[in-house]
């Protein structure tokens, strides 16, 4: 599995142009950090998506491209004045190219405490088949 063409700049976050154009509050898109590791069944992709729930996470597989989009709600109530900032609250976007040995139909995902666990099982190898040889 490789990361596909980044859909957002490789910097941590970037304001979304169309949001500023329509005078909405500035909207941020973040690239979430991920771990990928192998298990006997296949690959596990784990992503940090704080603030994202099962309802606000959208996972799509199209052709070989897996895209995750996690939407977050503002953490502070309206009218709160930001007096110190170390991170931007924004949606998470990242996409990956799946290799052919991932069984697309059996991909499962769960999200717990803001961490996504995506299981990418390997396609089962076809059983070896014996070819009968007949003598003439």
């Amino acid at each position: 599995m490789t990361e596909s063409e980044p859909t957002v700049p490789s910097t941590m976050a970037a304001p979304r142009a169309e949001a500023t154009a329509t005078n909405l509050p500035q909207h941020w898109v973040c690239t979430p950090p991920i771990d990928i590791f192998e298990t006997p069944e296949g690959l596990v992709l784990r992503a940090d998506l704080p603030g994202v729930t099962a309802e606000t996470l959208d996972l799509q597989v199209q052709d070989n491209k897996l895209t995750l989009l996690g939407r977050v709600v503002p953490q502070a109530p309206e009218g709160a004045r930001l007096i110190h900032q170390e991170y931007h609250v924004g949606d998470y976007v990242r996409s990956f190219i799946l290799s052919d040995d991932v069984d697309h139909d059996r991909i499962t995902a769960k999200i717990t405490n803001g961490v996504l666990d995506l299981l990418l099982p390997r396609t089962p190898k076809p059983e070896p088949r014996r070819i009968q040889v007949r003598a003439n």
């Binding site: 490789s10 991920i34 590791f37």
Partner: protein, 160 residues
């Protein structure tokens, strides 16, 4: 390394600002240009009418892994995350998520009512509510009609 500032809008705050951030040696920071050099966990602070709100991104942290304490006006947040401890190093294809133990401390301003603080952990986001001390809230001062008070004072018989 000074990472944390308690806002900069108020002179009163400036005196109280103190930085005690500490990344413990085994916290493994993310790489690949994602969030280099950021303190973990990243913290935002908001001011509301009657409280300060400290938010922190703590994905994968359970309530039992988190320890918040206040002592002598110093707020300490401690926690750990070892969600991939069971995976051997050679099985990793990519490892960007920070792991390990971490600790951060903040000097609370005197205007915080430190016994009324409370925290919530929702979907990997910590919300720590720091209510303002009653003395810090705006208070209405009643004004009476000065002339009446003066007349009353005049008619009060002086005890002999």
């Amino acid at each position: 390394m000074r990472v944390f500032r308690w806002g900069s809008a108020f002179d009163a705050f400036r005196d109280l600002e103190r930085e005690m951030d500490r990344l413990l040696h085994n916290v493994h920071m993310t790489h690949e240009g994602l969030r280099i050099g950021r303190p973990f966990p990243a913290v935002n602070i908001y001011e509301l009418q009657d409280e300060f709100l400290l938010t922190a991104e703590l994905p994968g942290t359970r309530v039992e892994d988190l320890d918040l304490s206040v002592s002598n006006g110093l707020l300490t947040i401690r926690g750990s995350r070892t969600t991939t401890a069971e995976v051997g190093d050679h099985e990793f294809r990519r490892s960007e998520r920070p792991q390990g133990r971490w600790e951060r401390s903040f000097q609370l301003p005197e205007r915080v009512h430190d016994t009324a603080m409370f925290a919530e952990l929702q979907n990997g986001v910590l919300l720590l509510h720091l209510p303002k001390a009653p003395s810090a809230l705006a208070r209405q001062i009643p004004v009476s009609d000065g002339s009446e008070a003066l007349i009353e004072a005049n008619v009060t018989p002086v005890p002999e």
